[in-house]
């Protein structure tokens, strides 16, 4: 079993015969302009040629920031190129889980989470696999369209589960968690901070003032905005 070193065959419209993801060529999960930018970039040509799931580790351990496309010319980040490579290779489930479960390299973990959100089709599995990592609060560097931003692993995974556009890609539609809970496909969410919240609520009833503390605790659960430009828009292109 071997796959091609380059993505040219897979990108060719004239009949894709590899594995299907969500019923179609997995490379189609990225939009055409983004695909073109990736394939024309020097990083892709030099470093992503001939990777397989093992040698991809070499590149992924050298990642130092996440991001989509940046700059006027919409250059892709190495993170995005490696995600594209994963989509081309379509590694086995156990390999992706290995990437996700390892602790040493946070960018590799985030890369695996991104792949899972894009490629796995069963919503329950996506939620069940990604939610445990909402406790990982390591810092990540994010490259936005015009600059840098700070984010966290749990923040990024939360964005993956809630937002519709992350890292220059429109994420495939996923049912909201409440819907899945109503359908009994998933258990109601047990937050890691659930215990603390209840305690504070209990205290609240005794005292009549509401502290700012309550809001802070809610912070990671609902998702924070870290953008320095202060805009409320979603992470388009970044």
């Amino acid at each position: 079993m071997a796959h091609h070193a380059d993505a040219k065959r897979a990108l060719d419209e004239r009949g894709y015969k590899g594995q299907l993801v969500r019923g179609d060529n997995p490379l189609k999960l990225f939009e055409k302009p983004v695909r073109d930018r990736i394939v024309d970039s020097y990083y892709w040509k030099e470093q992503c040629f001939g990777l397989n799931a093992a040698t991809l580790l070499d590149r992924a351990t050298e990642l130092s920031f996440v991001g989509g496309t940046y700059g006027v010319a919409q250059r892709p980040t190495p993170f995005l190129c490696l995600a594209f490579k994963l989509l081309q290779i379509v590694p086995d489930k156990e390999i992706i889980l290995f990437y996700l479960e390892q602790e040493e390299y946070k960018y590799l973990r985030v890369l695996a989470a991104f792949y899972i959100r894009l490629a796995w089709e069963k919503d329950e599995e996506v939620y069940a696999t990604l939610e445990p990592y909402l406790t990982d609060s390591r810092k990540l560097k994010r490259r936005t369209r015009e600059g840098w931003a700070l984010t966290y692993v749990d923040d990024f995974i939360d964005d993956l589960l809630l937002k519709s556009r992350v890292c220059a890609t429109t994420l495939p539609k996923i049912n909201p968690r409440l819907f899945l809970e109503d359908e009994d496909r998933l258990e109601p969410r047990i937050s890691a901070l659930g215990g603390e919240l209840e305690e504070l609520d209990g205290e609240d009833e005794e005292e009549d003032e509401s502290n700012g503390e309550v809001e802070e605790v809610n912070g990671p659960v609902n998702g924070r905005e870290h953008e320095a430009d202060g805009s409320d828009e979603e992470m388009v292109g970044g």
């Binding site: 796959h3 070193a5 580790l57």
Partner: protein, 212 residues
């Protein structure tokens, strides 16, 4: 009349070892192979006409093609920056032949740009010339785990080699400074030498030295 020797001592004229020997069985086997190939091709052509398609004869991959693997090191594209290079006149037309720029030995082509060069290294033409198949072996979980352990170990070894002691760090920094100062001094002297004599050293002008 045992050895009928000629005038110059040549041996018997019955020596026919220069003639071709015909190994019947070997040639019979070759003929059988060829017949079979023709039959198969005929079948393939017949099938193609049945489906309404045209039969294309594909060249088969040679047996000793290697699997393509990822590059183990970055491409060295920056080491000639700022250096002058003499090009042999009549080096080549267009891409063919070695001239200024990035040269690929296997295909005898020169590229003026590192992007074009890398594209060429990934191309079908070059892979065939280097005997690689263009297909990558799929990795199993075991391989991934091994690679992971290996990378982890390498990183730890690098960390361990980093010098943490303050005095040795000072020394290393001092050495680095010395080296940089030497470089600057040398460059300054060269520049001064060139202008001092009027014409100075003849600069060898190269067009398209790869810097674009």
């Amino acid at each position: 009349m045992a050895d009928h020797k000629g005038a110059y001592g040549a041996s018997s004229s019955n020596d026919t070892s220069f003639r071709k020997t015909w190994d019947r069985s070997e040639y019979a086997a070759k003929a059988a192979d060829r017949d079979q190939k023709i039959k198969e091709e005929g079948k393939a052509r017949y099938q193609a006409t049945l489906e309404g398609k045209k039969y294309h004869r594909r060249a088969s991959t040679p047996e000793d093609t290697k699997d393509t693997e990822a590059r183990s090191a970055r491409l060295n594209v920056a080491d000639k920056v700022g250096k002058t290079q003499i090009i042999v006149a009549g080096a080549g037309q267009g891409k063919r032949g070695k001239s200024a720029g990035f040269y690929c030995e296997a295909c005898d082509l020169t590229y003026k740009d590192n992007l074009q060069f890398v594209e060429h290294l990934n191309s079908r033409q070059h892979l065939v010339a280097t005997g690689e198949s263009g297909e990558v072996r799929r990795a199993a979980l075991e391989e991934v785990k091994d690679r992971f352990e290996y990378l982890k170990r390498k990183r730890e070894e690098e960390k361990a080699r980093e010098v943490v002691d303050l005095t040795s760090r000072i020394e290393v920094a001092r050495d680095q400074e010395e080296r940089e100062r030497e470089e600057k001094r040398r460059k300054r002297n060269e520049k001064r030498r060139k202008t001092k004599d009027g014409l100075g050293v003849q600069e060898i002008k190269v067009e398209n030295d790869g810097r674009g």
